[in-house]
């Protein structure tokens, strides 16, 4: 079925994604009011599910993805052909086992893999939104997810979990819909985006907008793409996802396919070649305008500001069980950011556990094979599942 306005002019990536996942068209009867004041509707949310909702609807887990993530958390990404981005955690016999949980992962509002974002057509005038798409917030993304749960008739979630921007959504869920969240796992995240992180995002956006192929955001109209700008944005961001130690250990000053310095501007060093590769592969799977919107949503995130400047107020009276994790070498979302959330949760007398995981892998550690993270998560979920009355599979 083609819903008017929300299925026009899909990109190849969107078509491939929507063919391999579910979607819902929401806000048809009543549009959703965004933080910016715009009434959005209808809009599409693309999502993937794993497992089956149990009879008492008590086993739903929502996984929230990070800046450049997507809904294909536990199965092959139809655009890149790569494994799901949290394949290590989601799957048969793994911590989030579809035999036990009904797992949902949505492409965020503003995304570019099937959910409505700047790529979509404005139903009002049949034109691509591009930069006329309203700026969305983390709270808007969460509202859209809540609308999806309403649509699926799922009253509440056993667990909301995510890292980085996914963790921001987890915190927003706990603050905005406390009764719908039994357990919350915000990983490698913060309750507000720091000045340094806003600065790095701004550099990325400037790189995109400096690319003449961007054309004020209307590149699809002109059949161009700001690939070079987007690649530079990705390269900058990618450095922030890794620790200095990890880069040194992985690459150091090793040369790329050569025995001596080339005395030129080719990629002499492996780290240069690696970064260029990160940039060039990213543009094949991500939309530049979507990158602008999602980074902006992260910049705008400030949970305390929305609660009279007092973070603890965001969690007042919360019955949610929290488990926070940070990584020692993560300098993008350092441990002190998680501690600030833990302090606020303590001040709100919430149920919270916190683990700082020893790792030299930087921010990306949350996506990688980190046994201490797996143990912590497994133990926390087991306890929460018991408290929720969820039976073990088999």
């Amino acid at each position: 079925m083609l819903e008017p306005g929300v299925f026009d002019d899909l990109t190849d990536a969107e078509s491939k994604a929507l063919a391999q996942c579910r979607h819902a068209v929401l806000g048809t009867e009543r549009p959703m009011r965004l933080d910016c004041g715009v009434e959005l509707g209808p809009f599409r949310i693309a999502y993937q599910t794993y497992g089956t909702l149990n009879a008492d609807k008590s086993n739903a887990v929502l996984i929230c993805h990070a800046l450049t993530g997507d809904q294909f958390v536990g199965d092959s990404n139809p655009v890149t052909g790569k494994d799901g981005w949290w394949d290590s955690i989601v799957g048969a016999g793994k911590i989030l086992d579809p035999a036990r949980y009904f797992i949902i992962c949505t492409n965020v509002l503003g995304g570019c893999l099937g959910s409505t974002g700047p790529l979509a057509h404005d139903p009002a005038n049949k034109q691509s939104w591009n930069l006329r798409f309203p700026v969305v917030t983390i709270a808007d993304m969460v509202r859209a997810q809540a609308a999806l749960l309403d649509h699926l008739q799922i009253p509440d979630l056993f667990c909301v979990i995510g890292g980085s921007m996914g963790g921001m959504q987890v915190l927003e869920w706990a603050a905005s819909f406390p009764k719908r969240v039994f357990a919350a796992v915000p990983i490698a995240t913060a309750a507000r985006h720091s000045a340094q992180n806003i600065a790095f995002h701004e550099v990325g956006r400037q790189a995109i907008m400096a690319d003449p192929e961007w054309k004020g955001g209307d590149y699809r109209l002109h059949d161009t793409a700001p690939e070079r700008g987007l690649a530079v944005a990705r390269m900058t961001a990618h450095i922030t996802y890794l620790s200095e130690q990890a880069l040194q250990r992985k690459f150091g000053r090793a040369l790329q396919n050569r025995d001596a310095l080339g005395f030129g501007f080719d990629a002499d060093f492996q780290v240069e070649s690696y970064l260029r590769h990160q940039g060039s592969t990213f543009v094949d799977r991500f939309d530049a305008n979507s990158y602008l919107y999602i980074t902006r949503a992260m910049d705008y995130f400030d949970l305390a500001a929305a609660h009279d400047g007092v973070l603890a107020k965001a969690f007042k009276g919360s019955a949610t069980r929290f488990c926070l994790m940070s990584f020692t070498s993560d300098w993008l979302f350092p441990t002190r950011e998680s501690r600030a959330v833990v302090h606020a949760l303590n001040a709100a007398a919430a149920n919270v556990s916190f683990v700082e995981v020893e790792s030299d892998k930087g921010h990306d550690a949350f996506l990688l094979d980190e046994p201490e993270m797996f143990r912590t998560l497994s133990g926390f979920l087991q306890g929460a599942a018991t408290a929720r009355g969820l039976r073990s599979p088999r």
Copy 2:
């Protein structure tokens, strides 16, 4: 006097700079052999001096500038109209007082403020070098400075001092010309560029080269300039010069000339506005190709590699007195990099003192008002001057 080939087609900035400083044309009789194998000559070195060389030529101080620095260390920059970049240290009554010392600061080889670099004409064919200029190294910059000292008939230096890339030159001076350096002060620097630092440089270069106005480096031929790319490069680099704490203290999430979020892509936050300003003012004073060359020189710097992989060998038998400083919040050239140099100097039984200065200002601290740095430097120089037999002024 117009020397053939080395005064053709000056930029406005070069003309202004050369009108306000001295210069020497070197390599006229015998070209200088660069690390890449190219024989360079004639070439021009622009330099500024303060004070007077004493009768026994024992009071010469060479100050080495950082990536985007210049020769105007202690007097007004004729391009920007701003105070000298180390005005806090160089001047009457200050630590480096022209009444006591003969202070020299050269624009580095490869620079864009009067010394020969990619902007210059290749004397062989009267064409602008642009990207055909040979890739120079820190050692080449130091060789050019040594050639200038020969030209000025100054046998040796009382002190070589500099921060960041300036510190690399100091280390190279001590290693290559130990007998010409009585005292050496490398500040906030490293004996080799790290993988993370190479990565940040590569992002900056990619931003410049992605700008269509760059035109393979031949933008002057086309009367264009890759200003947007260069601005993005500067913005990225600028973040690395500041600490996360300094950005948070200075800007936090404060908004720029507005009471509420703008829900758009203008500079909502002060930190965005500040960064954009850093980018846009930089392009008025710096050349994009020069930025490529100088970052490359830093990437290539690896003092141990040039000495069988053993850093201590670089300083074997050195009689130079060393004073190193680092800053606690500098994450671009963190303290461990200075410690590695100190360990090597100790292993070489050199005379070394080291101070880690407590500061939250990040890498840029070396350019700022840091009383502990001033005290350390003042004490060290006083001791060295006494040992050298330099009398106090007046």
